[in-house]
C-alpha cells in the first residue's frame, strides 16, 4: 500500500526525475557533435578505427621488416580455435627461429587471446576490416615477412 507521504513524495520527485531524463536527451538532440554514426563507404578516406578495434591478427614488424617472435609457440597453444600454427626452423647457428607463422583468419574469432599471451608482445590486432573474399585461400596467411630471421 502506498502511504500518503509516499504519494506526495512521488508527486514531487517523479516530475523532477522525468525532467532530468529530458535534459539528457535534449543535450544529445542539440549536440550533433556527439553523433557516432559512420557514413561508411563515403568516408572511407577519413575513417579511423578505434584503438581497441580488433581486426585480424598481425605480427608486428619494425621499419627493417623485422619481428620479435621467438617461435615459442605459446600463442599457438592459447588459441581456442587452432587458428595459429607456428612452424619453427633452425638458423645457421642452430638456434630455433621462426620459419612460418601460419594464421587462418576464417576460423579466428578475433578474441585477442594470442595477443594477450605472447610474452614478447610481438602480436597485435590490426585495424583493417575489409577482409571479405570469395576465395577461401586468401584467409590462410603467413604473418611473418622474412623467414628464418633472428
Amino acid at each position: 500500500m502506498m502511504t500518503a507521504s509516499k504519494y506526495f513524495h512521488a508527486m514531487i520527485t517523479g516530475p523532477i526525475s522525468l525532467l532530468k531524463g529530458m535534459t539528457v536527451t535534449l543535450r544529445y538532440f542539440f549536440n550533433p557533435g556527439r553523433i557516432v554514426t559512420e557514413q561508411y563507404p563515403e568516408n572511407k578516406a577519413t575513417l579511423k578505427m578505434h584503438d581497441r578495434f580488433r581486426g585480424r591478427v598481425e605480427l608486428i614488424h619494425n621499419e627493417e621488416n623485422l619481428h620479435a617472435c621467438t617461435a615459442c609457440g605459446i600463442c599457438e597453444k592459447t588459441c581456442p580455435n587452432n587458428s595459429i600454427n607456428v612452424l619453427s626452423t633452425k638458423n645457421i647457428a642452430g638456434k630455433k627461429v621462426l620459419g612460418k607463422y601460419l594464421y587462418r583468419m576464417d576460423t579466428c574469432t578475433q578474441c585477442g587471446f594470442c595477443v594477450e599471451s605472447c610474452p614478447f608482445g610481438c602480436l597485435r590486432m590490426a585495424h583493417d576490416f575489409e577482409m571479405s573474399s570469395a576465395d577461401k585461400q586468401t584467409f590462410n596467411m603467413t604473418l611473418n615477412k622474412t623467414e628464418g630471421q633472428g
Binding site: 535534449l26 544529445y28 556527439r34
Partner: protein
C-alpha cells in the same frame, strides 16, 4: 453551426455563376481535399521527423541515403507499404477485420475538420467543437477494440483490452482538461477559444492564467500522449510484451491505415494543444510594435503549423526519452494522480475566473 469554408473559389461561384447552389458542392470537395492534404500530406513528414528526432536523441544520424539527408526514404517506405499484399490470417472475422482500420482512419479526419488552421482555414465551425472532439475520440478506441478482437490472436485481444482500459480512463481527465479550457475561455467553439487569447504572447492561456495555465498545459500534454497511445503510454503496442498489439496481424494497406491514424492523431492533438494553450493561429506578438509588425506579416497558417510541429517535436522527445510504465502503474497514475489533479485544476480555474485573477 456554419458549414461555410469561407474561400474565394466558393464565393466567386456564389456571386458570378448562374448556379449559386453549386458553391456548396464545390466547398464540400474543397473541404475533403484540404483535410486529406493536411492528414495524408503530413504523415510522411512526420515519419521522417520521428526517425530523425529519435536518431539524434540516440546519437545516430537516421536515414541519410535516399535523397538529401534521406528525405525520400519515407516516400519509398510508403510506396512499399502500399504495394504489399493485403493478407488476413485464417480464422479472422473478415468484415470486422477490414472494418477496423477504416473506422480508425475516419476518426482523426473528423477532428481535423473541426480545427481552425488559420482565420480562413477551417472546414466546419462547430459551436460545440470540444464535446464533439471528446465524442470522436471514442471512435478511435472502438477501432482498436474491433481490430484486436477481429484478429483472433491472443496478443491482439490483450492489447485491445488493455488499450481500451487505458483510453477510457484517460478520456476522463482529457475531458476534464478540455472543460477547464472551455470554462476559462467561456466557449466550446475552437474559434472563440482562440479569440479569447488574442493579443500578445502573455494573453495565451498558458501564461494568462497564472501557474494554472502552465500546469494545465503540462497535464494536457501528458494526458494527450496517453490518448494518442504513444510511448511512454503505448500500452496498446508494447512491442516487447505484445509483439505489435492490435495491429499484429495487419499487413499492407490495412496496416498503413493504422499507422496513418497514429500520425494524424498526433497532428490533431497538437493542434488542440496549440489552440487551447498557445493561441492557435495567432502570431506570438511580444508587445513591441516594430517586431510585431514583422511577426504579423507571416501568414496565420504558418504560425499554426509552427506551433503544431513544435508540440509534435515535444511528443517525440517524450517518446524517446521516457520508459513505458506497467499497465497497473499507468492506471494508478491516472486514477490516483491525474484525475484528482485535473479536478483540482478545474475547481481552481473556476475560482480564478470568478475572482478575475486573470492577467
Amino acid at each position: 453551426m456554419t458549414f461555410g469554408i469561407p474561400n474565394f473559389i466558393g464565393d466567386m461561384v456564389r456571386e458570378y455563376s448562374p448556379w449559386p447552389e453549386l458553391a456548396l458542392g464545390i466547398n464540400v470537395i474543397l473541404a475533403v481535399i484540404a483535410v486529406l492534404a493536411v492528414g495524408i500530406g503530413s504523415a510522411p513528414i512526420l515519419i521522417y521527423m520521428e526517425r530523425k528526432v529519435c536518431a539524434h536523441i540516440q546519437c545516430r544520424l537516421g536515414p541519410m541515403r535516399l535523397g538529401w539527408h534521406g528525405v525520400l526514404q519515407t516516400v519509398a517506405d510508403v510506396t512499399k507499404l502500399l504495394f504489399k499484399e493485403v493478407y488476413s490470417p485464417k480464422g479472422v472475422d473478415t468484415i470486422m477485420y477490414y472494418l477496423a482500420p477504416m473506422i480508425s482512419l475516419t476518426a482523426p479526419f473528423f477532428t481535423l475538420a473541426l480545427i481552425p488552421f488559420g482565420e480562413q482555414w477551417q472546414v466546419i465551425d462547430l459551436d460545440f467543437a470540444v464535446p464533439a472532439i471528446i465524442a470522436i475520440n471514442g471512435l478511435g478506441l472502438f477501432a482498436i477494440l474491433l481490430g484486436g478482437w477481429a484478429s483472433n490472436n491472443k496478443y491482439s485481444l490483450l492489447s485491445a483490452l488493455r488499450s481500451g482500459a487505458q483510453m477510457i480512463s484517460y478520456e476522463v481527465s482529457f475531458a476534464v482538461i478540455m472543460l477547464f479550457v472551455v470554462m476559462i475561455s467561456g466557449s466550446a467553439s475552437l474559434n472563440d477559444i482562440i479569440a479569447t487569447q488574442s493579443g500578445t504572447v502573455f494573453d495565451w492561456w498558458i501564461f494568462k492564467l497564472p501557474v494554472l495555465g502552465f500546469v494545465g498545459f503540462l497535464m494536457f500534454m501528458c494526458i494527450s500522449t496517453a490518448e494518442l497511445n504513444r510511448a511512454p503510454f503505448d500500452i496498446a503496442e508494447a512491442e516487447q510484451e505484445l509483439t505489435a498489439g492490435f495491429h499484429t496481424e495487419y499487413t499492407g494497406t490495412a496496416f498503413a491505415m493504422f499507422y496513418l491514424t497514429e500520425y494524424i492523431n498526433i497532428i490533431g492533438a497538437s493542434a488542440l494543444g496549440s489552440i487551447f494553450f498557445l493561441g492557435g493561429w495567432q502570431a506570438p506578438l511580444i508587445g513591441i510594435e516594430s517586431v510585431d509588425n514583422i511577426l504579423l506579416a507571416v501568414p496565420d497558417l504558418v504560425w499554426m503549423f509552427a506551433k503544431i510541429y513544435f508540440l509534435i517535436w515535444l511528443y517525440m522527445m517524450f517518446r524517446w526519452t521516457w520508459l513505458r510504465p506497467r499497465i497497473d502503474q499507468l492506471m494508478s497514475f491516472e486514477w490516483k494522480f491525474l484525475l484528482p489533479l485535473s479536478l483540482i485544476l478545474l475547481a481552481l480555474g473556476a475560482v480564478f475566473t470568478a475572482m478575475g485573477w486573470v492577467l
